[in-house]
């Protein structure tokens, strides 16, 4: 099965991309990209969201057919548009979103699609032995008989990697593998990658996080706007230079000037949110977000962040405990009531929760206040006033859109987020929930969002920042708490944060804060 044995083209080159071009309508997602990958190296593919990384990998795997260019694996041309051929040629991919069957065991997941379905029982013992051997060789310990649904995210990722190795992948591609991992789990992944390249595998590591690219790769290829703008040896590069290559200009991190915290904006007192519809219940949460303060909530995704966000945005009511807003208990747990009380809410998912994609920009901008007399009279919308309002916000928040009439779903992610920021921040809320405010945005938009949040803090807002991006939490927050399995740790001041300890808290390996 392995093409490695029959590679005629020198021992070094394993994968060659030559002049790959892919267009979607007027957008050129990949513009003449040429790359090569050598045996025993980790090549980092660095680029912002929308730079063309995922498109390139989808071409490699036969999900897309390129308009121009060719792919060679171990010296042989890879036919376009055939995932089967890609796997047969020795390519293995670990997607950002795992493709595992949760109700099957680890072993079954590895065998599905690999072993013949006709004689599954005869192959099981051999498969189990091979899996154990692979796990041992690469340090990917997972119990083969556990149900995937019971595994942690880090363990699931190991199963994905094992699956690729089981299929005799010689070239492994990892798409943003650390996005869902704690710092410790990331370290462990890097150790596995080093073992792989020692054994002669090649790895493509897709990321937009500079520190890990520096830590794990031998060479870096930087994509920008569909072009490969640089391929460099990692040794001899610094973070600032790499960031500039990625964005195309110098990047300045937002500066957080210390401010004395004001009175509490939001207080949670032993709040529990549980019930049949709550996926990850929140237990006994104690929290105070003060004015002039950003409180960061770090944590691995799926540990109750959404429940906490639902609670403070009015989407979920507490089943026990008390919420105070600006010192007063909240009477009704409804989004409209929260908005009226001066809560600004930036939801986690701008497509699913933030905006109605099929409606116009102006309609989305009045979504939280369409019942106010400014925008309606006797049940009729004041369309003129609403459009003028939209025009003002579009100008103030620098939203790039043709007009207030534009259909919202056609905007870029960054501009959608600016719409939500405009809708939320223009009212000068005293408390702001920012749930994953920069997920999927490019660096320019990220900086913009960060600046606006710091500005709101300057104006006296208390900000609850929930983020799975630890770097973001550490850059913005005055105090940091960790959420794990629905429980919040005691917040610590930013200056006293020890990243190792945060990592342990995120993994649930240190005692929880009990109030």
């Amino acid at each position: 099965m392995t093409a490695a044995a029959s590679a005629p083209d020198g021992p070094e080159l394993t994968l060659r991309l030559d002049g790959i071009t892919k267009r979607f309508g007027s957008l050129t997602a990949n513009d003449g990209i040429s790359l090569d990958l050598r045996k025993g190296e980790v090549l980092a593919l660095l680029g912002e969201n929308g730079a063309g990384k995922t498109t390139l990998m989808n071409i490699l795997f036969g999900h897309y057919v390129p308009d121009e260019g060719r792919v060679e694996v171990f010296g042989r041309a890879l036919p376009h548009g055939s995932p089967k051929a890609a796997i047969a040629a020795g390519l293995g991919m670990v997607h950002q979103h795992f493709t595992l069957a949760e109700n099957l065991t680890v072993l079954d997941n590895v065998m599905i699609g690999t072993e013949s379905l006709w004689r599954p029982w005869q192959d099981r013992r051999r498969a189990r032995a091979r899996l154990a051997d692979l796990a041992e060789r690469f340090g990917l310990a997972v119990d083969p008989d556990r149900r995937v649904g019971d595994l942690s995210v880090g363990e699931r990722q190991r199963v994905e990697i094992l699956k690729a190795l089981y299929r005799e992948a010689r070239i492994l591609i990892l798409d943003e593998p650390t996005a869902v991992l704690t710092p410790q789990e990331s370290e462990r992944l890097f150790a596995t990658l080093r073992r792989m390249v020692d054994e002669g595998l090649s790895v493509i590591f897709i990321s937009h996080k500079l520190p890990e690219v520096m830590a794990v790769s031998r060479r870096v290829a930087v994509l920008r706007q569909g072009r490969c703008v640089a391929v460099r040896d990692t040794a001899g590069l610094d973070r600032a230079g790499l960031a500039a290559l990625m964005v195309g200009r110098e990047v300045t991190a937002p500066s957080r000037t210390p401010l004395p915290p004001g009175p509490p904006a939001l207080e949670l007192k032993r709040v529990t949110v549980a019930g049949p519809r709550v996926r990850v219940p929140l237990r006994d949460a104690d929290l105070a977000v003060h004015r002039h303060e950003i409180l960061g909530i770090a944590g691995v995704s799926g540990n109750g962040q959404s429940t906490l966000a639902d609670l403070v945005s009015g989407m979920a009511a507490p089943s026990a405990g008390q919420i105070l807003l600006f010192g007063d208990p909240i009477a009704r747990h409804k989004p409209s009531h929260f908005v009226r009380l001066g809560v600004g809410r930036i939801p986690e998912d701008r497509h699913a929760e933030g905006l109605v994609g099929d409606m116009a920009v102006w309609e989305n901008l009045i979504a939280e206040r369409y019942r106010e007399p400014d925008f309606q009279r006797a049940g009729f919308l004041k369309r003129g006033a609403a459009r003028a309002h939209a025009g003002d916000l579009i100008r103030d928040f620098d939203v790039r859109c043709p007009s207030p009439e534009a259909v919202t779903r056609l905007l870029s992610g960054g501009n959608m987020q600016k719409l939500i920021l405009g809708r939320t921040l223009a009212r000068r809320p005293g408390f702001i929930l920012a749930n994953q405010p920069t997920r999927g945005l490019d660096i320019g938009a990220v900086t913009y969002v960060h600046e606006r949040l710091l500005e709101a803090r300057g104006h006296g807002a208390g900000v609850l920042l929930i983020s799975e991006d630890l770097d973001e939490v550490l850059a913005l927050a005055d105090r940091v708490a960790v959420i794990h399995a629905g429980r919040l740790s005691a917040p610590m001041a930013r200056e006293e944060v020890d990243v190792r300890r945060l990592g342990l808290l995120m993994a649930g390996e240190e005692g929880h804060h009990a109030a």
């Binding site: 309508g25 945005s313 809410r345 699913a352 933030g354 109605v356 979504a367 939280e368 056609l410």
Partner: protein, 349 residues
């Protein structure tokens, strides 16, 4: 061959899609007509003439279109909020039953007052009937497709029971039909010596009103946001469940109005064969109109024309008139494909 989402849908395509769908349906059904041994072009010519070719044909088509406009609106307004009301037929019959209940002499008022009162009662009956499934949907997540569809049969049996029992007209020589509405509750004729009645004007006004609600009012704004992204609407503070319940009242009310308009304008009394599936036809019309309230008028005219014309065609060239059902059904299927092509572009590779 793959599908690619369109970034913007041009207006001509929105108009061309239903036209193309209907044409395709006619081409498909040409095969069936030829198979039954009739000359295709002549058959379609007869159909066209029978639907729109004379003053009488035109008024018949308009009479037939009247309830279809209203049931089409009922479906369109509910579907816009993603409330899948398949129960238009039941709401129509319950509205008609309510209309004869209050319109056949129980209250006596002058016509300008009695007609609106009877219509409002019929609308309330239809609206309340849909309120049940909508309530179950918002509270317990019960699938309203199932509940509204099954309610149709329950309502038909209930109407049958009433017509055989308490509401049976003693003067009807044993036929299961209701007492007629009093003359003050009858809708005046629009054209003398035809069946065309004031119901058409009311239906057209209803279409305009629904359009205004949809595109100009706070309620319409809520309907559209709940229909296209209920989660985002809820997050922004739109009272999603309350919107769905109000939509149910409006949608059921429009279907109930269709029933009232039929007994007050066309038949004068209620029988169990009053509607040849106007409630279900409303779904076809809403889809052909792409849920546009004004489009419902055009779509209802077309469907009514096919049914009226098919009778004429059947008489002239001996093609069974149920070809009309096939034509309308084929139009709906073609329209569903057409809507896919409006939203997506076909790419050959």
């Amino acid at each position: 061959m793959r599908l690619e989402a369109r970034t913007a849908v041009p207006l001509w395509l929105t108009l061309a899609a239903p036209a193309g769908a209907v044409l395709t349906a006619f081409v498909l059904c040409a095969g069936l007509i030829a198979w039954s041994g009739a000359p295709v072009l002549e058959a379609y010519g007869r159909l066209l003439a029978g639907a729109f070719g004379s003053r009488f044909a035109l008024t018949e088509t308009l009479t037939r279109a009247t309830p279809l406009i209203l049931t089409g609106l009922a479906a369109a307004v509910a579907f816009r909020a993603k409330l899948w009301n398949i129960g238009g037929e039941g709401q129509l019959y319950l509205g008609a039953l309510a209309a004869v209940a209050v319109g056949s002499g129980v209250i006596s008022l002058p016509a300008p007052l009695l007609i609106p009162v009877v219509m409002l009662v019929a609308m309330a009956a239809g609206g309340l009937l849909l309120l049940g499934p909508a309530f179950l949907k918002t509270r317990l997540g019960v699938d309203e497709v199932v509940t509204t569809l099954l309610l149709n049969f329950i309502v038909l049996l209930f109407v049958s029971m009433m017509l055989e029992g308490p509401m049976k007209d003693p003067m009807a020589m044993g036929w299961p039909q209701s007492a007629p509405v009093v003359s003050d509750a009858e809708l005046p004729r629009l054209v003398p010596r035809t069946r065309l009645h004031l119901g058409l004007v009311i239906a057209v006004l209803a279409a305009v009103a629904v359009w205004v609600i949809k595109s100009r009012t706070v309620f319409g704004y809520e309907i559209r946001s709940v229909g296209s992204n209920p989660r985002a609407a809820a997050f922004a503070g739109v009272p999603v469940n309350w919107v769905v319940l109000r939509v149910a009242l409006l949608s059921g009310g429009l279907a109930g109005l269709a029933g009232a308009s039929e007994v007050m304008g066309r038949t004068g009394y209620l029988t169990l064969d009053m509607s040849p599936g106007y409630g279900y036809g409303g779904i076809v019309i809403a889809m052909l109109a792409q849920l546009n309230p004004l489009g419902c008028i055009a779509a209802a005219l077309l469907v009514a024309g096919v049914f009226v014309g098919a009778d004429a065609m059947s008489r002239a060239v001996a093609v069974p008139n149920y070809i009309a059902d096939v034509l309308v059904a084929a139009s709906l299927l073609c329209m569903l494909v057409g809507m896919l092509l409006v939203r997506y572009r076909l790419r050959w590779r």
